[in-house]
Symmetry: C2
Subunit: 542 residues, 2 copies
């Protein structure tokens, strides 16, 4: 593909992806369309072994790899199983093969040894389960789509796995206000299809949408690809139904945009990773489906400053905000090494080459003509300012999806590259990428790849380091270095992934002791026996 | 003014308000410009007696009008005053004249009898004050701009008034991200000016902006006029610094858009009305200043359905959302009786007449030309559908402000009409207005006026009933009727005003007992002695 000329832009704004159909996405998963993404094997562990690298080693038991001690919870007895079977006939799973899958996170980084999986269908069943567990002092690990990044959704030891998979009913949708009320186990992508047919879209979107559950999204305060435009779940979630640790039900499935009657209790559960209560149903404000969607995939010119090309990314973002204004719906970036891995492991080829950075700019608006004009103005400005090497624009849905796949499937490509050390950082925009070259120099050949990508518009870097296998030595070179680097810049050591099991001990890099103490008090208030998702979110006491 | 014709619209989209300059706004307060609104006497009680109706009666002491008993807090002694004077030299106010003003809410509906006002400048001073009060079991009533609607910001008995008025420093502003960090006592309008000069606007706006403090906005989770576009403070507030009841400081002035490290503690304090902690500083995400703002003020055709004209309001809203999409920034409505009161008490004249309802539609976008085209398309559709009787459009700032004054100053007009029974309800859109005619029939001549207006786009009705003076009999005709009506429709009995003192006992109409119990537990956890804003938010135990 030849570099663009400004003159081409005016005529070719609705240019499709220039490579032939199918060329962008190869491999057995087919078209790799963004939606439906059922064809995209995410997370691999849920899609069968064909998605895993051949010869993938058995995942080490969490209890063996990490210095963690089982707390004095009861063990599940035959009487407990009989009680559960009475509550959930035929939905108490003890089959070792099924349990093997749900004991491991999809990143294959942690593994528990639970001996029972419960699959309730109703809030009342969840309530009965928790009442029993509370009385018996049995620990519970709630599990949605098991697509988390921090080992929060699988047991650490023998906690009972409480799956929301069968709680997948849509309860109501109001097609004027766009309010959706549904059970926690609804898969995000299926919800998206439901509301799209009615003129709306979900206010959040993420790579794992084909597997993740809305309850899990809420419990982890998922950010994702639409955060820039539609904001946080803390604003878009209108109400929750939650079962507390003792089995009592907190009903708050409000459909109101505004409600200032007392403390906003739902906020306690958003982002608390199942440690304060189990989300059983969600009321969420959907947003009108845009009439026009454009995606521009752009290669940035290598610059000469500290991080060659990154200043150009930032300047492109500034132009983008100024020219696209209210129609800007995503500004994602990835570095050249990400792009190589996506090509190598997934067979996706990139329509733009030879740049140190690539950005994906999406517009979503209500007028095809206006949005095209705005996008043209932005691209002309970026081109005439010498920021871009090359790029392509798509408006047709399939092409839009193909361009998005290059960004969305990076996680999957990384997981095929070996063991992945994952960091999800919030940092000041100006320094968002600086840690990546710093780490490349620091780690040298010990790392296969050090890559950076993420939601630039939200100040959110996904920093990933791959290696042949887990190594304590490499880990020690990374941690606490990455956390200290982040803390020194007042960043967050978990922007959107949460803390789960694997990050719980680093909370202190982003939160002061007084905050941590108050969090412990909240946990003690809501779950005095500590049975809900133990060993997660809050650090082990020294 | 003649009714529009579609053909006029295409040519006259940037039509100014048709009446001569100044005609819209009369009276001694001058131009009534929307911004700066320092000229608008809001709240009247802070502007001196000239804003009050002449002969306004003395406000009854809360302790006498309401069935409330003083809790066994200590009384302020000379030793306490000396200790405070040592902490805040010259800023311990015991002057009865000053205290008279800060003991009464601006609506003149409640009055406390505090004997001391403290005016700290720093978080450290607030911390020292609360540490002392906690040790001494002295109750504290935090006060920002004292512009609340529910008696939440003045003492009920002799609580110490802790004012944020001198905590008015802007701490930082980042002109790429738009993150503002400031002390709690900054006045919203002044913050608006600061960020507007730097290319941003505040994500919230409300009629009281000339007096209200950002800390109070956060503490009450203020909604206001930009909620439809920029959402809730729960999404736009990035961080808080809060002093807890025992004087300890919870530092969380993050500037990060995303941070999932543990429970989001700031959410506890947003909307908790000073009962869980005192907000001392705020980090908030401002939004880019729109390049183009249009306001259309429209008269609706009287229809024939249950509420004549209201179906037309709803249909206009539907067209608005479809045609204006992402540039729609406000959709406010008011009924004919509101308009009469604004004319009678404030001397404002309306450019549109003779309709049962009026709507104010605002667009805010990044392109003058595109926004005009979208607005034209909407107006043509609404006109050709026979929804509108008349209307006017403004783009020039002064005219925009004049049209906004018609909506923003309704509260003020009502306060001059006599005693006001105020209800702030969230209701399903379809039934948003039905309670107003229902109440007119129910109350008959006992009420001077029953009016409805508000943020239609957010499903938020401000229902106001005026009468010559407070009367227990009229109150009994209104309550619990209004609350039961609202609860039967699963609405909220306080959409955005909070509960404060006057609404605390009606929380049960919108929240179940389990939620209320958890709120009490949270209060007990964070403020075990109950010294922070007692008698507010949570109901008195039976």
């Amino acid at each position: 593909m030849l570099p663009w000329r400004v003159s081409r832009w005016a005529m070719q704004l609705s240019l499709q992806v220039a490579c032939p159909p199918g060329a962008l996405v190869a491999g057995k998963s087919g078209a790799g369309a963004r939606s439906p993404s059922m064809l995209v094997p995410w997370p691999p562990s849920l899609r069968g072994s064909s998605s895993l690298p051949t010869g993938a080693p058995e995942v080490a038991l969490t209890a063996e790899r990490y210095p963690v001690q089982r707390l004095p919870f009861s063990e599940v007895t035959e009487e407990d199983l009989a009680a559960f079977e009475h509550m959930l006939p035929g939905r108490v799973i003890t089959d070792p093969e099924v349990l093997a899958a749900v004991n491991v996170d999809w990143l294959r980084s942690v593994r528990g040894c639970s001996r029972v999986l419960l699959r309730p269908r109703t809030t009342e069943e969840v309530s009965r389960i928790l009442r029993h567990c509370h009385q018996r002092n049995l620990a519970v690990s709630p599990q949605g789509g098991n697509t988390g990044m921090v080992g929060g959704s699988v047991p650490v030891f023998d906690e009972i796995i409480l799956s929301t998979a069968l709680m997948n009913r849509i309860l109501s949708f109001h097609d004027v206000s766009g309010t959706l009320v549904c059970q926690a186990g609804c898969v995000l992508e299926q919800l998206g299809r439901h509301v799209e047919e009615r003129g709306f879209i979900m206010p959040l979107d993420l790579g794992a949408k084909g597997s993740c559950h809305i309850g899990g999204n809420v419990a982890t305060n998922a950010g994702g690809l639409r955060f820039l435009r539609y904001g946080s779940l803390r604003g878009t979630v209108l109400g929750l139904e939650v079962v507390l640790a003792d089995g009592s039900v907190l009903s708050g499935l409000s459909s109101l945009r505004k409600d200032n009657t007392g403390y906003d209790l739902k906020q306690l559960f958003i982002g608390s990773e199942g440690t304060l209560g189990v989300v059983t149903a969600v009321s969420i404000a959907c947003v009108p489906r845009p009439q026009a969607v454009n995606v521009a995939f752009l290669g940035l010119m290598p610059g000469h400053a500290g991080c060659p090309g990154f200043q150009e990314v930032l300047q492109t973002f500034r132009f983008c905000k100024a020219q696209l204004g209210e129609i800007l719906s995503a500004f994602e970036f990835l570095d050249a090494e990400c792009m190589q891995l996506v090509g190598r492991h997934l067979g996706l080829s990139c329509p733009v080459r030879g740049s140190p950075f690539y950005v994906l700019v999406e517009t979503a608006g209500s007028s095809v003509a206006h949005d095209s004009e705005k996008l043209t103005a932005f691209l002309e400005q970026a081109l005439s300012s010498g920021l871009l090497t090359d790029g392509t624009v798509a408006t047709e849905q399939r092409r839009v999806q193909a361009l998005w796949a290059l960004r969305e499937r990076i996680t999957e490509a990384l997981s095929r590259d070996g063991y992945v050390y994952k960091y999800d950082l919030s940092l000041p925009l100006e320094q968002l990428y600086h840690l990546v070259p710093d780490l490349r120099a620091r780690l040298g050949p010990r790392a296969r790849h050090v890559v950076g990508y993420g939601h630039l518009g939200d100040g959110n870097l996904h920093l990933n380091v791959t290696a042949e296998a887990y190594s304590a030595e490499l880990c020690a070179a990374l941690e606490p270095y990455v956390y200290e680097w982040t803390a020194a810049r007042r960043g967050s050591v978990s922007a959107e992934h949460g803390l789960g099991f694997r990050k719980k001990d680093v909370i202190g890099y982003s939160k002061p002791p007084a905050a941590l103490e108050l969090m412990r008090q909240l946990k003690g208030l809501l779950d005095p026996k500590g049975i809900l998702n133990p060993y997660k979110t809050l650090p082990t006491r020294a």
